[in-house]
Structures are given as C-alpha cells and as structure tokens.
Amino acid sequence: MEERNLTQNESLEIITNMIKETRNNLEKDGGSIYLLWGYVWLFVSLAIYFLLMKTGDYRIQWLWFTIPLIGYPGMIYLLKKEKRGATTFAGRVIGNIWIVIGVVAALLSLYMFIDYNAFPILFTMALLINTGVAISGLIIKFKPIIVAGFLGILLSFVILILSGLDQILIFSLFAVIMLIIPGHILNSASRKSQKA
C-alpha cells in the first residue's frame, strides 16, 4: 500500500475493505481449544468409567484432576501458537468469561477435598461449562455453539436422574456434544472465512 492522496471512492473502498478484513471473525478461531478440552475430557472420563467398572476402586476418581492438568498447559501452548495479532471486544469478553468459569470450576473441584458429598459435582460441572459454551455461542452469534450449549444445559439434568457409572458415561458424552462437534464446526467455519 503506497502513500498517496485518494479519491472519495477510493477512501470508501479502503474503509469497507479494512472493516471487512477484521470482520473475518477473529473470535471463531478458537476451534482447536474446544477440541483440546473436548478430547482430554472424553478420554479421561471414558478411562475413569472403564477403570471403575473393572476395579470398583473409587480412588480412580482422582484421575479427574488430569483434565485441568493437561488442559490448561495445552491451552496456553495453543494460545501462544495461534497468536492472532488483534483483539476484538467479543474475543476479550469470551476470554474473560472462561477465566471466571475456570476459577469457579477449580474451586468446586477443590471443595471436593473437604466434602465430596456436598453437591453433585458432575452435574454442577456440566451445567457450569455448558452455560459457558452457550454464552460464548451467543456472543459470536454462531448457531452450532448456541445449540450445543443449550442442549448441554438440558442434558446436564439427566446426570441428576442417573446414578453411579451411568453418570460418568453421560458426562463423557458432553465432551462430544459441547466441545468436540462444535470445535470441528468452528475450525471448518474459520477455514472457510480465511479462504473467502
């Protein structure tokens, strides 16, 4: 782009082109983060389900803590790798919402050390995270994420109806509904908007 004076039409064209460039939905580039959390969640919960079924040893539940132990460093790595160069208002709001959800989720998990019967942890976690997914979807106005979030909120209550190992199986299903499927859809939408 060279430095010269413009006609009014050229000015208008530059303004519209540049605004369009930034509207290529920077916020929709987060698919890989959904996938990271989704697959870690799925594999850990399925592992816990099968190990509990085989051994019946409830100390296996400690494995839940491997989700944040793998998820957070992985997310930090992905965020550094996918440096976006620009921050939008929506992107910052979504980031902050997930920071709050992350802190609440950590506190809820830690409370389990004090009293593991205080509240149904799988239900609470599922409801909390699905709420985050639905809010994120509404902010970026992306239907698959909105649907996944609200579907997840509704299905969270199924955990209350079920008991024992079935709860864990449903919990692992959430990873697919609210993180893995939306993550793949987000990635494909992001690739399409980059090509356009």
């Binding site: 010269r4 004076n5 413009l6 082109n17 930034t22 160069g85 620009a86 939008t88």
Partner: protein
C-alpha cells in the same frame, strides 16, 4: 457543500490503519502490515504520524522474547474517523 477531508486520514495507508483499529480493540504491527499489505518501513512512519496527532496509541513491549508493537485507537482518533466519514458522505450526497 463539500466538507474538508482530514488530510491526516486522507491517505491510503493511514486511512486503512484507522479503519482496522476502529473495528478491533488493539492490533499488533504484524497484523496491521499483513492486512494493509504495506511495507514495515512505510507502516512505521505512518503509525508515528497518527500517534503524533494523538489518533492512536502505540505500546512497545515483548511477547515472550520477541518485541511486539501494539496499537489502539484513541477517542481523538475515533472522533476524527467519524468526522472523516461524515465529510466523505457530503461528497456522495451532493453527487447523488
């Protein structure tokens, strides 16, 4: 009646930079260079001019070990852009 167009914004690269910064909260030097298709040297000069006029703020820092220049639009810049668009409209309204 044609309104005067702000000479600081009535230039290809500076207008492109302000148009980007009006739509995002902040953008770094590399992002601006890629989106505007400009050379680094030219972009540096134009950013400096916009900064001297108070239209944008430039923060120089580090991202890990790499230097990173972040830019964001100021209230003065936002007002100047809005006035520029208003002035631009006057040309189209008259010719319509």
């Amino acid at each position: 009646m044609f309104k005067d167009l702000d000479p600081l914004l009535h230039s290809q690269l500076r207008l492109a930079v302000i148009s980007i910064l009006i739509s995002v909260e902040e953008a770094d030097f590399v992002y601006l260079r890629e989106k505007t298709g400009s050379t680094g040297g030219n972009l540096s000069v134009q950013l400096e001019k916009l900064s001297e006029a108070g239209y944008i703020e430039i923060e120089k820092g580090f991202s890990g070990k790499r230097p990173r220049t972040l830019c964001h639009i100021t209230e003065i810049g936002r007002n100047a852009f809005e006035q520029y668009v208003e002035a631009l409209k006057s040309y189209f309204n008259t010719s319509a």
